[in-house]
Subunit: 348 residues, 2 copies
């Protein structure tokens, strides 16, 4: 049986991490990488990766995806280029129309129905027409604040209220994230960034909250989210970020899904550099009121970068086994680490 | 659209709990209950339940399952009669051969391939021949020490070692469990009980460990388990149990799945009455070494009785939607609480 053939589209931190991870797995092969960054086009991926080449064929980065979208050399595309459904849409359309399965890292694609219901319908129709599957996933949205909440609720007779908190550190991240999250800027700059929508904050509350509501069968009456600065009272410094006392060390995102006038799903996601310097301990926390009551903690938080990389790679067999169409994490079997040959996980 | 029709076979604590839970749900109806206990045959289930009758038709308990195994009145049987596959086998066979789906609470049925591979094959063939689905589930095995471990591993690039600990209290349980777990007996009686196999301890390590190994694609070289007494140093008393100082307050079950000569999956499951009296705090704990490392805790532990009841009821839609055959929790989408109309979860 031939290896599973994977093409990676987008070779930033996520794409590179997926390549590194795939190189450690059996029964799978990277058959192409596409990126538009002129600095890396026509280079071997092995000059950019941590994993050595070993027995894997060389892969030269191209900026022309069309040469890679061939069923003979590609079973699935891992698309790691965008955060928003509408930006990823033409790329996903192109992949699906070539008759190839696709996993997207775009945060909104974790539950595209939440904010882009029309595009979600269109993607589902295109995937079905070409007999392939499309999935959006990642650590969050995609797992921590949605799928894990949903799975835990499966042990409950009754659910009255859901709270999910993800308290994480931005210290491991690079300059792009520092900029997106406003690390080091003044309060005034922060408020300007929020007004002009140049500060991203966390993308995913709308998706996580709608995924939970739909999975549990709860009609939401309203969704809200807020974005507040985390102002440091001490000087903080991380490898790529620096926030002086009184400046912004990160962003506190909060979001709520209402049933009637009551908050039914409550989310808090503070992200900052060096949280320990002011006594904040990172972790993922889920509290579900009901019968029985559930109080879960994961300390420290599951690493966002590695987690997203792993979720995308680990979901490959589930996507290849799935019925055609646009799927979300609640439609497919639970994710799992792949320690054996990936081909053994494919339904015959 | 008609309600989903559920028959409950076995009306002990689990069966009654499922009935109570079903009565709080929309789009589902209990169309029959079978039990062989003479004390309850020909009684209305409502004389035995906590939930009031409301608009639900009356249900009289019968000891004749054949009258209930009719597709017109039954979409699925919840079978809550046994712990072991071979004891539940003839019952499951009868249900499947009537063309009816089935969920079993038998601990071994959570992953019957582990200890009864021949019966598992036969059940799969029978279910497929009659175009129906069979699932074994429960809180543990079925969720805490297996499915949840597997789901968390989905966020990992590499897994080196898995530890799952479930520290729970037996205090809420009744006289049957006190006897099965040896609460109150002497050390000598305990060792006799282990030798004569009259003490059950926890049934499920073989299933949980094999489920994890298969899900991750790890070939195990060996499985072992041990059963040790928890001897109390103080007098302990629970509603249905009593252990004097020096006597047995519960059972400490431990189990290991080996790869080569190393323990790859390590399980600890101490169960006792009044654990707090000697400073033991109950909870569910999962530690997975690898990249990234995961340390999860749920405190207190998810209630075993309610959890099993909820898992069985909450999996009904997934079983009705599934392809035919014998399925396990790793084949189906994640469990979830059902807060809306159960019929809305059925694929059209």
């Amino acid at each position: 049986m031939k290896n599973i053939h994977v093409v990676i589209w987008g070779f930033g931190a996520m794409g590179k991490g997926m390549a590194d991870m795939l190189l450690t797995k059996k029964g799978v092969e990277i058959t192409g990488v596409c990126d538009r960054n002129p600095a890396i086009i026509n280079t071997s991926i092995f000059s950019l990766l941590e994993e050595p080449k070993r027995n894997h064929p060389d892969v030269i980065i191209t900026d022309d995806i069309t040469t890679l979208l061939d069923k003979e050399i590609c079973d699935i595309v891992l698309l790691a280029t965008d955060s928003f459904t509408k930006n990823a849409f033409p790329k996903m359309k192109q992949v699906l129309e070539a008759g190839i399965n696709c996993i997207s890292t775009a945060e909104e694609m974790a539950y595209p129905k939440a904010q882009e219901p029309e595009l979600a319908k269109e993607l589902d129709a295109i995937a079905k027409a070409h007999n392939v599957t499309l999935l959006g996933t990642g650590i969050n949205p995609g797992f921590i604040m949605d799928l894990l909440v949903i799975a835990l609720s499966g042990t409950m007779k009754r659910v009255d209220h859901i709270e999910a908190n993800r308290v994480n550190s931005l210290s491991p991240f690079g300059p792009a994230v520092m900029e997106e999250q406003g690390v080091g800027i003044t309060l005034e700059e922060f408020h300007q960034g929020v007004d002009s929508k140049t500060l991203a904050g966390h993308v995913g509350f709308a998706e996580s909250i709608q995924m939970i509501a739909d999975a549990l069968g709860v009609p939401l009456t309203r969704f809200e989210q807020q974005m507040k600065p985390i102002v440091t009272t001490v000087d903080r410094k991380s490898p790529y970020g620096e926030a002086k006392k009184g400046h912004v060390a990160g962003v506190n995102m909060t979001g709520q899904g209402y049933v009637g006038n009551d908050v039914f799903i409550d989310m808090k996601h503070p992200q900052q550099i060096e949280p320990e310097m002011e006594g904040t301990h990172t972790g993922d926390y889920i509290t579900i009121k009901g019968v029985p009551e559930i109080n879960m903690g994961i300390q420290p938080e599951i690493d966002g970068g590695i987690g997203t990389i792993a979720m995308c790679v680990n979901m490959i067999p589930h996507v290849l086994n799935s019925k055609p169409g646009l799927k979300t994490m609640i439609d497919l079997p639970v994710p799992r680490a792949i320690l054996g040959d990936m081909r053994d996980l494919i339904d015959s």
